[in-house]
Symmetry: none
Subunit: 220 residues, 4 copies
């Protein structure tokens, strides 16, 4: 499947964990859990140590500062959030008609991001929270977004605008609506009302229909 290929083409980050010592992994897991539950600033290193089952000093052998520990969590998320766009031949595939329509492209994208959020929810929560308070994270993210995502996304939108499939609004507006709709769904699904009984296939399909109708070229 194309979506799976996208994921495979992700970045490093995966193998890191394999090289990590057991304690380091425990620390990371504990930190992710605590940070996502109580927030970075409200979580103490002693709490993390306790939950990880290590001495407090051990944390600082692996991460020079508490902030470093945060960054070790957040930096991979930084890229993985926009991972599909980082694949080298990503845009190319779109243009080569791998997904004959914007709808199919969106479908692939939403399914892929759904799986990602489902799998990495705590890390993503931390990322979203701390984005607001750490200018370096924001800056790194902005850099990745502008450099690797926005351009490709704009070309894809233009492509389907030229094919007459979607409306001739400014690409950034189309991008905003697309992202907003997808992210809005995922946040509602996983953060706002996670306990509700969701029929994800149906809901995703409705979301795609909503988005596509919203963006389809108006017929006179």
């Amino acid at each position: 499947m194309t979506e799976q290929e996208l994921l495979r083409e992700l970045l490093q980050a995966g193998d890191e964990q394999e090289k990590m010592s057991e304690k380091k992994v425990k620390i990371l897991e504990a930190a992710i859990e605590m940070f996502s539950e109580k927030g970075y600033a409200a979580t103490s290193t002693s709490e993390i140590a306790r939950k990880a089952g290590v001495a407090e000093g051990t944390i600082f052998r692996h991460y020079k500062t508490k902030k470093d520990l945060l960054m070790a969590i957040v930096t991979p998320v930084l890229t993985r959030v926009v991972a599909p766009f980082l694949a080298r031949d990503f845009a190319q595939k779109v243009f080569e008609d791998d997904y004959q329509s914007y709808e199919n492209f969106i479908r692939a994208l939403i399914r892929n991001r759904f799986d990602f959020v489902k799998k990495h929810l705590p890390m993503i929560k931390i990322f979203l929270q701390e984005l607001a308070f750490h200018p370096e994270i924001k800056e790194q993210y902005r850099h990745i977004f502008v450099e690797h995502v926005y351009d490709k996304f704009r070309k894809i939108v233009s492509h389907f605008q030229q094919k007459g499939e979607i409306i001739e609004l400014p690409p950034e507006t189309v991008i905003r609506m697309t992202i907003t709709t997808i992210v809005g769904y995922l946040i509602t699904r996983f953060l706002v009302l996670p306990e509700r009984d969701w029929d994800d296939d149906v809901e995703i399909e409705h979301t795609i229909q909503f988005l596509m109708h919203g963006l389809s070229r108006r017929k006179e």
Copy 2:
């Protein structure tokens, strides 16, 4: 204007400030600024005192604990975020055809919420951040939403579904898409890319068109 009437019918919160002593207001202002910049947990009471120009102890004369100070900021937001729906005769007006269409209703809503966010951005940032970490806030909000917003909103949606204006999806899905689209716009506008040069009238209109096309009843 209807929208203004809505606002007037808001809750307390407004007059509170008039009864407040000058120092109390200063403290509140300082706390809002600091909490929204650095986050609740990362802001110290001594910082707030310094910024407010009062002694450290004075904060605790007015607010028993730091948490109380947070709640004093967040609680009004809680209701004001969904304020339009709290007006007693709100739904009634909709049904009495004050806004002949879902589109007009949405237009009034988005304009109203736009002004609100613009005016109270820092408080809203605090609210969104801390919602994640304080179950009481979440619970209060859920309560207000379920009690006062969801029901009315569902009735409004049903109303326009019966009038044939909007698509026959489950009302909660329609609500989600509506809210998601509006909130997505406001967040992009005020939090993600506030520094961009926005033509708000145009952008709002595009957003409404997107939403209405996305939700319009499909014609065979």
Copy 3:
């Protein structure tokens, strides 16, 4: 007495303590005692707090950092060590024949410094120890010495060289021998062998004789 006038013309530093709160004085006293006994780096702030009878946090209300506490001790010493030379009319007096000879000048100096060291030994120990490790202290001291002491001292030496009382060596060599002899005596007296039974009047007189013979113009 001239020596007493010198002392009176000292700098500020004296009245500071009067304005200090009781706790601040206690902290300073405790810190001086501990630093001089165990050294700055080997003394913990918790030890100081215990000895001062205050909470550890109280130290940091009065001194932002442990280093600040050190500087609060060392900075006054910095000037007081060379205090006699800081009197505005000090050199003038020497030239106006207040002390008819280099010998009398030295006698006044050594007596004055003797009293000073006796009174402030712990602070002086701290000063001497930490001078070696804190470039800022060294730099401040060098500044004071070059600016206020060396020049005056050189003029005094030249004065008595011209009067034929002391030998025509380079002034800096004469200064070195004078200081070395005085400081060597004081260090032996108060640091190396403080417990010995000293007849200070006799020892001072011997030291002066030694110095004066060592520096007297050689007769052919």
Copy 4:
């Protein structure tokens, strides 16, 4: 030369290094550099390990504790500082007229100690600093001084007093003045103003002249 013979007759300490493993030497060198720069208490063993290029644990294979490492540096200095006096036949030589005068004896002594300080300055700095804080070091030193130096020195002084070369002050006063003058010169030369452009031969000769005049028998 007699002075060289003295040195040869020193104690152990010299050959130690030959038996030492390469790593042990590196550790010692690193420790000497760091201790003399930042002080014993302010230097961490991990810093030493880094500078020595060994693992943290390796230090503790060679020295049971950090204190042991300090003692390994300081103990040799302890004896070497007063080394000339430790030669078995040292005093004997003086009396047998190897140095026809106190002046020549002092000249040999000051030259010898000059070379020693020049060569081992960092170790000597450490010794001087830590002397103040470690009673065992002070006690050991006092023991060596009283046992091996003071007695010999006193006899030498008496010898030249009887020969009429130097003044009839209490020997301990003469010793103090001699040591003070020599040490005062060396400290000024190597610690206080090391960066100045010294003409050591001239300065040493002036120092000797100063000392000899200061101590010479007064002529009526």
